[in-house]
Symmetry: none
Subunit: 550 residues, 2 copies
DNA sequence: CTGCACACGTGATTC
DNA sequence: TGAATCACGTGTGCA
């Protein structure tokens, strides 16, 4: 997954930096999304990037499309997964990816300084950014496709129609020429290509086929098929956070419907730029329910995602095997073997929490990032309780209270972590990646923003005072004298020198001891022309040069 | 303590809202600071507010004055302390205070809406704000008093001398008329009065007496008298965080020495205003080592504070008694009695961590906020290990590793919490007080600031183009022509009409069809005077009126 | 009683 | 190896 977000070169560095030999990477171990991956990586596939927008339910019961899964062709497998302990869950990957992005974008890691930015190709930025989008039905291209239940085939020329494609600038920056959206009953599949791919029934069928094949088991996912055991607990859990104050059309106070005038994203300058602007611009629902309506608003629709034989569960199985093995034998530092999973042991927690409706609670964000908690997908045939059961702790007693408690605490932690991720995404300069530093950086960033803002405000007020605030009249020309003089009028207007447009010139006259013989001001069209006749005591040429150099 | 920060009415509300009957508040239970309290609350005392600035040591070994203790006369005792379980530590109080402030300043608690702001009197704001200040010796009034070892008696008229009193505007807003600073060997005592109190040897002596009396036991506090057991561990702990990147002259990136031009704090408008501006303005070292150099930079000087019979230790003793009692008997909901401290039990963790130099580690912030951890002040005669030992956990084994580990983890948590507090102090609108909401609010605040800033920047650029940017020269006087003409020069400066100071006048001429016969511009001192000779076709008088009405 | 938020101790991981 | 961060389970206070 990491390689899907970071560019290939960045990944190379990443691997080199982490001292991990990428020689024996087992791309199949922990391969999470075979369908999308196959779709993208298949020979001759024009698609560089595939994103599945998963249906979820918002706080108010509306459906929302959010990041479900994705694969981005980026020169390699999930190479960062060569973790023998199997603890590199999706959460970890994503964290690592963000971490790397931040480090590359100007973190304090000085070694990286040389290859700071520019290392992450734009398609990956698009891919990463999309992780933080979500769409209401009818909104954006995925939403439109979902609502109309029709696919959209969008050539580059139509990107600008923001109504269809709010991430248009991102896509253009990424170099995409074609974007296709295909609706399914569990969500919308988005494919992006660097080439101009023309719509054809063949290709469309290929897309639909490969995806439906992936979803073949346990579909009919719009039906809410939760188990009876967890049903009530789930539904209460789903809505008990209702008063959180989040409007799902906003993300952390940012109105998402009003697209600000920042649609023009720059050509690849720096990740910092991108990363800072990405969550701001484009008028899209960045992070919306991923962060706002995270655990509490997702619906059992997700369960389908957990049910079908898609990669996450499979990956988790492997991981939990590794985990259990490690946990029991307490041996580590083994040279990343894939054949070490002897002595699988799920004991010690058989009574515990995994019967809880965590899958129903998990928003997609949750499913992705804390995939180890999405274990009760109960794929038939696999052992129960495949939770890594990370740190051994006695199940306390046979009481049932602490089980829910544990779940709740887990969710709370996850929520907090989500916020931390979100914070990371809005704070530009993060020195270190630990939480304390992040908070510190956020604070300094806030104070800096506040300082800048008040500074600008003061400046604005200073400037607004003497100069004309609006386009028409001066707020108050400080002094205005009118004298009658025969049949003419003598009008004197007195302004402070400061902020007067010709103040510099006049000051220069004074500094250079130039006598102003005569001065006139005439109004021509929409311009004011001042004409001075000056006499310099010394060299005229020098004076001329001096004036021109102003 | 809460009542000292919040106003009386706010406290009333607070009590009412928490469904706590304020009838039987035992002001003596947990009464932490009898000395300052007595000083302030004594009959006839002119002082409304007392703050003890405690000497600590900064990262680089310099001495720093930080908040040590305080009491603010606010119509009541420490009524929020009526916690039967005794878990309302200072940290909790402070948290509560901040919480209430934020709730009052526009939180989502709708019940409070009516009495949102205006409820917290300004002296309390001053008091609260002071919690976040610290001063190097010679800086600010406390620093000056410390350095010179002379008391300062500052009447309101001298507040403006920011060199002496950086919190001048706060003090003025608070309505203080007299501020006095008295140096002691452990810090500086600050007293503030709403009246004009004239300096008198009598009053000075009274101040010194009552305070020295409070410090009578175990003074000579500048001496660093740590136990041998914790000495080395302390010294390493004290400086091992050195590379955190914090400059102690800054607070989260804000330069503290450069006093920004925001000394003019408004008259009481809203708490939100205050709370937002307070940590920004005034050029003081807000939060400086409280946050940056938190645990790791404080020195054993603090130990004196823990040693002497001042209130914190006493309070903690009581608390730990409550705590232990509660922990053992597991009975609660007792109607806030102060006589419940039977069955004091410190067992269960006698081998554990409290022999560690946590007291020596604690910065003042730490001492205040996590007072329960400052327990090894080892006041002679009290039992050792008076840590509440909150949640029972076996000491694992006799290994020594986990003990340090526990300490480290504690410090990490504390550091994180410090950052959270700091974040709370810079984010104006906090909906709820839990960490997740805080992060969310911070994120939305950041995005809002970013939006505003970019908005302003765009506007500025739009406006800044034609108008003069800075005070001296135009950024670019759009057109400047110079022609030689005999021995004179003809200079033509062309500016856009918009934002030109006399644009309005010229526009008015044009609108009224007034012919401009002649126009001159002369520079006089720091003003630019435009003189026009105009001729109006019609009624001169009308024109004159029209012009004057501009 | 219950849901929720927090702090704590602990195991694990990473460098 | 040791220091640092993190996640987890748990105890507990509060509404």
């Amino acid at each position: 997954m990491a390689v899907e977000v970071l560019g290939g070169r960045a990944l190379d560095y990443l691997l080199a930096a982490s001292h991990a030999s990428s020689s024996d990477q087992h791309a199949t171990v922990g391969s999470g999304v075979p369908d999308l991956q196959n779709l993208v990586e298949a020979r001759g596939s024009p698609w560089a990037c595939a994103i599945f927008w998963q249906i979820s339910r918002s706080q108010f019961g509306e459906f929302v499309l959010g990041w479900g899964d994705g694969h981005c062709r980026a020169l390699g497998g999930r190479a960062d997964d060569d973790d023998p302990r199997g603890r590199t869950t999706l959460q970890r990957m994503r964290k690592r990816v963000l971490e790397r992005l931040h480090v590359l974008s100007g973190g304090s890691d000085d070694e990286n300084y040389a290859l700071r930015l520019d290392q992450v190709a734009d398609p990956e930025i698009y891919f990463l950014a999309s992780m933080y989008f979500s769409f209401a039905p009818g909104e954006g291209a995925p939403g439109r496709s979902l609502l109309s239940q029709k696919h959209l085939w969008i050539p580059e020329s139509a990107f600008a129609g923001a109504d269809y494609f709010v991430r248009a600038s991102l896509a253009r920056t990424a170099g995409f020429r074609t974007v296709v959206l295909v609706p399914f009953d569990t969500g919308v599949l988005e494919l992006a290509s660097m080439d101009s791919v023309f719509e054809s029934p063949d290709e469309l069928q290929r897309i639909k086929a490969v995806f439906v094949h992936g979803l073949s088991k346990g579909t009919a996912a719009t039906a809410c098929d939760m188990e009876s055991s967890g049903a009530t607990a789930c539904s209460t859990s789903c809505f008990r956070f209702g008063g959180d104050g989040w409007d799902h059309t906003k993300i952390f106070g940012k109105d998402l419907n009003a697209a600000p005038a920042r649609m023009n994203m720059k050509v690849p300058t720096s990740i910092a730029e991108h990363h800072r602007e990405m969550p701001l611009g484009d008028g899209a629902k960045l992070l919306s329910w991923n962060l706002n309506n995270n655990l509490e608003e997702a619906t059992p629709v997700h369960r389908a995602y957990l049910h079908h034989g898609n990669g996450v569960v499979m990956e988790e199985t492997v991981m939990s095997q590794f985990q259990s093995q490690k946990q029991q034998q307490h041996q580590q530092q083994q040279p990343r073997p894939h054949a070490q999973l002897k002595q699988i042991d799920f004991g010690g927690n058989s009574t515990s929490s995994r019967a809880m409706p965590i899958g129903c609670l998990g928003s997609l964000e949750f499913v992705l990032s804390d995939a180890k908690a999405s274990r009760n997908g109960e794929k038939p045939g696999t052992t129960e309780d495949r939770r890594p059961r990370k740190r051994g702790r006695k199940p306390a007693n046979g009481r049932e209270e602490p089980l829910n408690h544990v779940e709740a605490e887990r969710q709370r932690r996850e929520k907090l972590n989500q916020r931390f991720y979100a914070l990371r995404s809005v704070v530009p300069n993060i020195s270190k990646m630990d939480k304390a530093s992040l908070l510190g950086d956020a604070i300094s960033y806030i104070t800096e923003l506040q300082r800048k803002l008040t500074e600008m405000e003061a400046e604005r007020e200073m400037l607004g005072e003497p100069a004309s605030m609006e386009q028409n009249s001066c707020t108050h020309p400080p002094h205005l004298d009118v004298d009658s003089l025969h049949d003419e009028l003598l009008v004197r207007v007195c302004c402070p020198l400061v902020t007067h447009p010709i103040a510099g010139v006049i000051q220069a006259f004074a500094d250079s001891q130039i006598d102003v013989v005569d001065s006139k001001v005439v109004l021509s069209d929409d311009k004011v022309t001042h004409t001075f006749v000056v006499r310099s005591p010394g060299a005229e040429q020098l004076t001329k040069e001096k004036l021109v150099s102003l």
